[in-house]
């Protein structure tokens, strides 16, 4: 089964928030919607949750004419005046499910989430990670086919974030649920999802796997958003690019604006290839664990990229090469 977003537009107070969104979401998968803040991510999620109606376009699925996602909100929004148990069973109580069933499903879901001993507490007596588990339980107890998560990990600290990422993956496979989540951290998206939709300024720019996204962003906006790259301005004539640090043949993207794209990872190397890059002096290097981020200078231009540790020395000059034909946006 697949969910379809067809030509979704959202206009509010003359602001065009979503522009012609087309997206197919395979069931039983995790799809990440990645984009900077203000790009319309939450608006899109609200449409999937039927909190908001789009100005035009439709959201359907193959089996269900009117699908509705259950949302886990960014701030969790656990009702402060209800215990954990009351919070989790809220949806079931509202749709008047029998008491015994509620009890049974509560016991089951709290066990899966590892929060069985918290049911009598109030939200203000929980830690951040516990709150998220309760919020997740409150949604999952309704056995949703489509689960939506708004910036689910942004307020957790580093260790907890990794733990919860794994946990969500586990939940997904255990319950056969489709998860759509939005985030502005690309690492979160890469860790959790094989399929990432980049949403910038209300349009979906690119949908692809993490590796492909990094190596081949579709345009300069996506490349700039993903960051972790140098953009060197210069002039394009035919297939040649001319700048202070590099002159030579390049691959041109659509409507090139004259920016040479040098990602930090997997582009610049010391090994000789058929694409000589530049001759430059190493001015700084920072240890990042498995790699070193090296900064080189040539005339007034500095460029940064990752190298194997201890390959270069500060103050020395080297000839660098491009791994593959460089790209100009």
């Amino acid at each position: 089964m697949t969910y379809f977003l067809k030509k979704i537009n959202q206009v509010k107070k003359d602001k065009h928030i979503l522009k012609n969104i087309d997206l197919a979401i395979e069931s039983n998968s995790i799809v990440a919607i990645l984009g900077p803040s203000g790009s319309g991510k939450t608006t899109l999620l609200n449409i999937l949750a039927k909190i908001d109606q789009p100005s035009s376009g439709e959201f359907t699925s193959e089996s269900d004419q009117n699908p509705k996602g259950i949302m886990v909100f960014q701030e969790y929004l656990l009702f402060p005046h209800m215990t954990v148990a009351k919070n989790i069973t809220f949806g079931l109580r509202m749709s008047k499910v029998k008491r015994d069933d509620i009890k049974e499903r509560l016991a089951k879901i709290t066990e899966v989430m590892g929060i069985s001993d918290l049911v009598d507490r109030y939200p203000d007596e929980l830690s951040g990670g516990q709150r998220q588990r309760v919020a997740l339980a409150r949604a999952m107890i309704l056995r949703p086919k489509l689960l939506l998560m708004d910036e689910p990990f942004s307020s957790l600290d580093e260790n907890l974030r990794i733990e919860m990422l794994n946990f969500v993956q586990q939940i997904q496979s255990q319950f056969d649920v489709t998860i759509v989540f939005v985030t502005h951290y690309k690492n979160e998206a890469y860790l959790l999802s094989k399929r990432i939709a980049i949403l910038i300024d209300g349009s979906i720019k690119q949908i692809s796997e993490p590796e492909q996204l990094e190596s081949d962003p579709i345009d300069i906006e996506v490349a700039k958003f993903l960051g972790q790259a140098n953009f060197i301005s210069g002039k394009v004539t035919g297939n040649t690019f001319d700048s202070l640090i590099y002159r030579g043949e390049v691959e041109l993207k659509n409507n090139p604006q004259g920016y040479l794209y040098i990602p930090y990872a997997n582009q610049v190397t010391l090994e000789k290839t058929e694409y000589p890059a530049f001759f430059a002096e190493v001015v700084n290097k920072v240890w990042l664990g498995s790699v070193e981020r090296v900064t080189v200078r040539m005339d007034s231009v500095t460029v940064s990229f990752d190298c194997r540790p201890n390959l270069v020395k500060i103050g020395d000059q080297y000839s660098f090469y491009f791994d593959k034909k460089p790209v100009v946006y």
Partner: protein
């Protein structure tokens, strides 16, 4: 140690004032109500005045009438005020000119409303006149008696005019602090609009609502001015009854008046305490309604 000195210094003005003018007043009327009244050479403690107060049929019926009247008007003010507050908040009219106008009655003296009501709603007032001009009434006698009437309608209108805005203003403070996304969550989890109001919105504002109710009730129960101006002499309300008793000048009646005061004070405190306890126990009580 400086902490302790600060606490004593800071609490001094309040404690002094309350001791001299509040607690002493309570204490003096307490002992007087038990018949200790040296001015008349009475120095023996007795339950006599309480017994006669509580067996006085007219006092009891006036008290009961005033209690009912106070509960009904305070309750109406809370319900109507709550509905208006939520509506204004939903439609983003909680700031600017509409809110400024809403705040107005909170600052106006009751007598303003009374003067306007006399001019508008008495049987020879402007409103019956307009109705006659429109052909809806034939004569002024057909217009119902709304002021100085048997059902305290004039008093209730005046109190509602002052108290509905008071409820709106106090609820608005809570509503603005409340995250209105909680309602979105409830709807997303499958609750309908009424369920969302009943299970989510109401618990979050109920403590503020109960506080407003208590303040309104106590005011309605004990305030003299409006019942004096707009009340009915056959159906007297308590404050008028007590005031008349107190100022009639018969000094031997003072212990009895003080026992009436004591009974009413204790009753009001107990009533407020019961409401506060209930509000603590029902959903929303635990968090104070403002998170």
């Amino acid at each position: 140690m400086t902490n302790r000195k600060n606490i004593i210094l800071l609490s001094l003005p309040f404690c002094l004032f309350f001791l001299l003018f509040f607690l002493s007043a309570l204490f003096k009327s307490l002992i007087t109500s038990f018949g200790y009244y040296p001015v008349l050479n009475m120095k023996k403690f007795t339950w006599e005045y309480y017994i006669s107060a509580l067996s006085d049929a007219s006092f009891l019926s006036i008290s009961w009438r005033t209690f009912l009247f106070s509960v009904v008007s305070a309750f109406l003010a809370c319900i109507i005020g709550m509905m208006i507050a939520i509506t204004l908040y939903r439609h983003k009219k909680d700031r600017g000119i509409v809110f400024r106008i809403t705040e107005l009655p909170v600052m106006l003296p009751h007598i303003f409303v009374v003067i306007a009501l006399f001019q508008l709603l008495s049987q020879t007032g402007v409103v019956p006149n307009i109705l006659i001009h429109l052909g809806l009434l034939q004569s002024t006698e057909q217009f119902p008696l709304l002021l100085n009437d048997n059902y305290q309608i004039g008093v209730i209108i005046t109190y509602l005019y002052k108290e509905i805005p008071f409820v709106i203003v106090s609820l608005m403070l809570v509503l603005r602090q409340m995250n209105d996304k909680y309602e979105v969550v409830a709807l997303n989890l499958g609750a309908n609009k009424f369920q969302t109001f009943w299970n989510v919105t109401l618990p979050m504002i109920q403590t503020a609502l109960v506080n407003a109710f208590i303040i309104n009730f106590s005011f309605n129960f004990g305030s003299y001015e409006v019942p004096f101006l707009l009340g009915n002499q056959q159906k007297e309300l308590l404050p008028v009854y007590i005031y008349n008793y107190y100022v009639q000048g018969d000094i031997t009646q003072i212990p009895l008046v003080m026992s009436l005061n004591m009974i009413l004070s204790v009753f009001s405190i107990v009533f407020a305490a019961v409401l506060l306890v209930i509000s603590k126990k029902i959903p929303g009580g635990r968090i104070g309604g403002n998170r």
